[in-house]
């Protein structure tokens, strides 16, 4: 008897406490645990110069213009006069990227360095939180570049000093002028994690294969590892940096090369995304930038390149609600 009294009193207490809750508290019990895709690991399809794990959503066409500006270095202590405004030299790449599905994006571009480039990018795994948790994102990328210049037109035979003296910075000296000889293909695995709302980091193992090489001592296959990251500093602004490291055996042997590096600011609002950065290369195609950057990153003329990437996003297909 006493026991049943106790049980009833306990029930009573329990119930009165349930009744004491607000309706909103009661709703919390109704909420189902969801799996959320982690979005905005990086804001653009490129961290800066190189690809990020991000792809565009279905039906999006991105038009972009990438530019680099730099000054001609002193050669043997001799300053080369230039009448150009602000910077001695500039290069530009116009490109377009089209998302065929939410996970698959293709893109290509032309640069006035005389290079065509293109890529296919597939988002294999996207970082998730919640019910099913995946701690990282994985994207696979296959791309290539084709050099349009014929051997006759390339000045200096790949001499690293003369390269930046010309508007055609091109160390890619091929053996002959066939399509195969002037083409390079590459594959990348992009692994990234958004650690918190501000910090994202990426590691990108890269494999590059060149069609042909003028200098026998240079390797035709190259392995490189890219490191990149971004830190969000404002609602629409983030800082980014990236670096590609090559093992000695993978680097060009006839000239000294350095890892491509960039440090910059990413700003986006509405349909416009802009990146401004400092770097040590005036090239655009991934394979050329990674393997053939002949200067180290510093603030000297000829070494410092100012980069400005502009992207405009168009939604060709609007999603049904």
């Amino acid at each position: 008897m006493r026991n049943s009294l106790l049980i009833i009193s306990l029930c009573y207490l329990g119930l009165s406490s349930v009744q004491g809750q607000g309706l909103l508290d009661e709703l919390y019990f109704e909420e189902k645990e969801r799996t959320e895709m982690v979005q905005s690991t990086f804001k653009m399809i490129r961290i800066g110069m190189f690809h990020s794990v991000e792809t565009r959503k279905k039906g999006v066409l991105e038009l972009n213009a990438y530019t680099r500006y730099w000054n001609i270095p002193e050669i043997d202590g001799e300053v080369i006069e230039s009448n150009s405004f602000a910077s001695d030299r500039m290069s530009v790449r116009f490109g377009a990227d089209l998302a065929l599905t939410n996970k698959f994006t293709i893109g290509g571009g032309w640069s006035n360095n005389g290079v065509l480039d293109g890529y296919f990018k597939h988002r294999i795994v996207q970082q998730r939180t919640g019910k099913s948790n995946i701690p990282f994102s994985l994207t696979g990328l296959i791309g290539g570049s084709h050099r349009l210049e014929n051997l006759d037109n390339i000045p200096g035979d790949g001499d690293p000093v003369s390269i930046y003296d010309s508007t055609i910075p091109n160390t890619s000296i091929n053996l002959e002028d066939s399509f195969y000889d002037k083409t390079t293909v590459y594959a990348q695995l992009l692994i990234a994690r958004k650690f918190n709302r501000n910090l994202s980091a990426q590691i990108s193992p890269t494999f590059i294969y060149r069609g042909s090489n003028r200098f026998e001592e240079n390797p035709n296959t190259t392995i490189a590892i890219g490191f990149g990251g971004r830190y969000k500093v404002g609602k629409h602004t983030s800082l980014f940096s990236e670096y590609y490291w090559l093992p000695e055996s993978s680097a060009l042997q006839n000239i000294e090369t350095f890892g491509a590096y960039s440090l910059g600011v990413n700003w986006e609002v509405s349909s416009v995304q802009i990146q401004m950065f400092l770097t040590n290369t005036g090239n655009y195609a991934e394979d050329i930038t990674i393997t053939e950057t002949p200067v180290n990153f510093n603030f000297k003329d000829g070494n410092l390149f100012f980069g400005w990437n502009f992207a405009y996003v168009l939604h060709l297909k609007k999603r049904k609600k």
Partner: protein, 182 residues
């Protein structure tokens, strides 16, 4: 004597159970918003909104998951979550309020004022809105709309867009309630 005491204790307990059945839930409530912009309109909708309605106390609660808002443009949705609403910090918007002068005995549609507190981005603002409440044979339907001022919730619009984006957002809602059983 003890038996009577037991019964006496049981009585409110049973009453409590009876009362519980008087709650109504909407699991797929629809909330959409619309903002007029000179360049293009911003609109999004969410049809996974949760709401509880208690007709005998006239109380109403709503919980809106921000990530569930669907936009026509994917980039707009990303900006909404990442730069404006910051849904990783503030995943939900909530409303808790009362329907004023609600007559539960009247079956059919009645237009009433709902008064309560709306919380978005951790900021609570008291709001009042007009709503149509329809009582049918076994459920309730509530729909209506209200205007929210984005300044109230400290949603910063960059200067470059400030004069292109309207300061008020029209929010409309439609909830269909069924009897709530746990």
């Amino acid at each position: 004597m003890r038996k009577h005491l037991c019964l006496l204790l049981l009585l409110p307990l049973l009453m409590g159970f009876a009362k519980k059945g008087d709650k109504f839930i909407a699991r797929n409530g629809k909330v959409s918003f619309f903002s007029y912009v000179s360049a293009e309109n911003i609109k999004a909708s969410n049809n996974q909104v949760l709401s509880l309605f208690e007709p005998n106390t006239n109380k109403l609660a709503v919980s809106i998951l921000m990530r569930a808002f669907q936009f026509e443009k994917s980039l707009m949705q990303e900006h909404f979550n990442d730069s404006y609403i910051e849904s990783d910090i503030y995943p939900k918007a909530t409303f808790e309020g009362t329907v004023l002068n609600f007559d539960d005995d009247f079956s059919g549609t009645q237009t009433k004022i709902i008064k309560g507190n709306f919380t978005l981005r951790g900021i609570t603002v008291p709001i009042k809105m007009k709503a149509d409440i329809t009582k049918t044979y076994k459920n309730y339907i509530i729909n209506g709309e209200t205007d929210l001022n984005i300044k109230d919730f400290k949603i910063n619009v960059p200067q470059i867009l400030a004069n292109r984006i309207s300061q008020t957002v029209k929010v409309s809602f439609n909830f269909k309630y069924d009897r709530y059983e746990k």
